[in-house]
Amino acid sequence: MASGTSDTRPLSPHLSVWRWHATMLSSILHRFSGIVNYIGAIALTVWLVLLASGAEDAVAIFTSGSLSWLTAIGLIVLTWSASYHLLNGIRHLAWDIGKGFDPAGSNMRSILIIALSFVPPALIWFFALSGGAS
């Protein structure tokens, strides 16, 4: 943001001078998972429209054809990113009412949320693939 200035003093520290820590990772993952959710929502809505118009065969290669493995990976990633974004989003709501800013607790909650984010996708896919009607 300092383009156009002739000031030669160091700018604010760049990413390379920071060691990775948990709160930094959880913040970056929040944006990353949000963008993954954006792409997933587009894909699911397009699929819904195709279903309604009876044109779902147009993407049959992704649902039952030779690329269905790619869809399965995409949906597993999407259930993870939605779970992470939701859990970390609850933390954002807690921040908004002024709770949860202590450094030690923030680090602990970052790690806890990243670990917990794998539980809902594991449960959803376990029940979908083993106990589901399909």
Binding site: S53, L93, S134
Partner: protein, 126 residues
């Protein structure tokens, strides 16, 4: 050297006065999604999707249609607000920024209209 005083130069160039609405709308849609999204994910994953007949039966049922409409509306609204912030944070070229912001609006609103139409059509035709 401009003869205009600093105060004159910045006069009326304040904020757009829409930031609070953006902030509140982001939080309210987030709370809606905390409730709706887990229900939607569980119901869709148990519906037999992506089998076409089972999926159409789910989206065509009263509960499936309502849950999908609520989740889809909150999601598209929330993700439009969210991606807008990402674009404003990282994209500084005017043409690219405006293009992405307008594209963000057109994609999310267009998908909402298309998705709502699809749900109505499935509810009517079965």
């Amino acid at each position: 050297m401009s003869m205009v005083t600093p105060a004159k130069r910045i006069n009326r160039l304040g904020s757009a006065k829409s930031g609070v609405h953006h902030f509140v709308a982001q939080r309210v849609s987030a709370i809606a999604l905390v409730i709706a999204l887990p229900l939607f994910m569980i119901c869709l994953s148990q519906s037999g999707a992506p089998d076409p007949a089972a999926s159409r039966a789910f989206f065509g049922s009263a509960w499936g249609a309502l849950l999908t409409l609520i989740t889809m509306s909150a999601t598209l609204y929330h993700m439009r607000l969210g991606l807008q912030v990402v674009v404003e944070d990282y994209i500084h070229g005017t043409a690219m920024k405006m293009g992405l912001l307008i594209g963000n609006t057109l994609i999310t609103y267009g998908l909402w209209l298309a998705g709502a139409y699809a749900l109505i059509r499935l509810a009517v035709t079965g």
